[in-house]
Amino acid sequence: MSDGRKKSGRGQQISSKKSRLSGGDDFGHAIAKIAVAQLCESAGFHYSRRSAIDALVEVAVRSICDLGKSANFYANLAGRTDCNVFDVIQGIQDLDSWRGFSGASGVHRCLVNTGVVREITQFVSTEEEIPFVQPIPRFPVSRMPKPAPSFAQAGGEPPGEHIPDWLPRLPDPHTYVHTPVWNKRDTDAKANMVELAKRRRKAERSFLSLQQRFACNSTAGFRPTKDGQVGNGNQVVNDNPFLASPLPYGEKEVCEIASPLKAYAGKSLSVLETFVPVIKAAKVGSLDFNTNERKLLHGIRPTVHFKVGTVKKSVAASLPSDTLIADKDSWFLKYNEKDDKKKRAEFIFRTVIDKPHELAQL
């Protein structure tokens, strides 16, 4: 049976709004709508208006509810809580009482011989079955909240003899006892803030130097250099050399523009040498940079290769493979924890490599 939309859109909108007001029983209404539509189709209709079907659904639901109410009323009248077949028959008689049923007025006769039963029997025997099209589950689905386990269920003995064991368990002490909260780490807030500021400055400084370097050295490829971060080693709290405090401005002479190819060609193994103590120390477990690194780095500015992209020609093409592998190891060891600023800097590096023409946007 198809739904003839002969109404104007506005009318349908309003009728659908009206049905929206029925509340949370939408599932029942939907099922009833299907059943009623099937009934109308069996009666002989080809099409139907949507509002007509809605009205019929309301009538059907209301008739079921009224029948149940009156049957319950009759059962209560007889002093019962469960309903009987006779209660239901009397309820049906009440609903259709305006038409009258034969035998309804008889007091001493059994209700089975009344017109109600006869009509229903006739209906059942003559009408053909139209089963509902879909199987539907039992509804409404009630979700039982899980009750708290009793003493016996939880396996523990109730504290005190006056408490029976079928009562629910007492709550855990951590739910009601107030315990002080201790900070696990032994650092004070001020040192943390200082450290945080240092890291931020470091990231910003490296980003700035990168920008400058890229602006004046765009043809030779990207080759960021390590800042002299290990110079001031006496304030390094943790073992990561990249997180050490930066050198104050002017302490160390730094050449701004490095010609990377020349610098590199002359010292093909210096990079590896530079990182040998790093690798060794990392294998041992502690990176102690204070003495070794200072000697090596003093005047040499070896290149640090950030792994900022998967395949970057500028980085990979000009290096021999073994140093690259060594560099990767060291890089992985040093870069296992990053804060947000570093991630942001890395993202900027990546975009710089990817789209050097968009550098102006950064």
């Binding site: 003839g4 002969k6 104007s8 506005r10 009318g11 309003i14 029942g28 099922i31 059943a35 099937q38 009934l39 109308c40 069996s42 009666a43 002989g44 209709f45 080809h46 099409y47 139907s48 208006r49 509002s51 007509a52 079907i53 009205a55 019929l56 009538v59 059907a60 639901v61 008739s63 079921i64 509810c65 009224d66 029948l67 149940g68 049957a71 319950n72 309903c83 009987n84 077949v85 239901v88 305006w98 001493h108 006769r109 059994c110 089975v112 011989n113 039963v117 229903i120 029997t121 059942v124 025997s125 009408e127 079955e129 139209i130 509902f132 539907i136 589950p137 039992r138 509804f139 409404p140």
Partner: protein
């Protein structure tokens, strides 16, 4: 006398009644009503009807289905009467065979059963919709 005869007959009658009842209920179980059992049980539970017996639920659903079919049949009669009654001119010689359940037919048939169903015929945007432009400007 009447009461005694009926009461004496009641003893035998009760057997007939019992057998009639069981027969009736078993015939109910053979028939699968269109309104599903879960739906009927849901609404019956809402209204306070409590019975674990499935046959009573089937009885309720069969009674409701019977009522619905009667309403639908009456509406169908009204629809067919409306199609047959008006004399259409040459443009529409073959009768439109489509039977559509409309609110008018439904309200007419439900009125016989005691249900008053009123339906608005149209909805207007504003109070001046449909008026001729001369009066609208006022």
């Amino acid at each position: 006398m009447n009461s005694s005869s009926s009461s004496s007959m009641g003893g035998e009658g009760r057997h007939d009644d019992d057998s009639g009842l069981t027969e009736f209920l078993s015939s109910l179980m053979d028939y699968t009503p269109t309104i599903p059992d879960e739906l009927v049980e849901h609404y019956l539970g809402k209204s306070g009807f409590h019975c674990p017996d499935l046959r009573l639920t089937r009885l309720v659903s069969v009674a409701t289905q019977k009522f619905m079919l009667e309403v639908a049949n009456d509406a169908l009669q009204h629809c067919k009467a409306r199609q047959a009654a008006p004399v259409k001119d040459k443009s529409k010689q073959p009768k439109d065979k489509r039977l559509v359940l409309t609110m008018e037919d439904l309200s007419k048939s439900l009125q016989e059963y005691g249900v008053n169903l009123k339906h608005q015929e149209y909805f207007a945007d504003s109070p001046s919709t449909g008026m001729d432009p001369a009066s609208r400007e006022e």
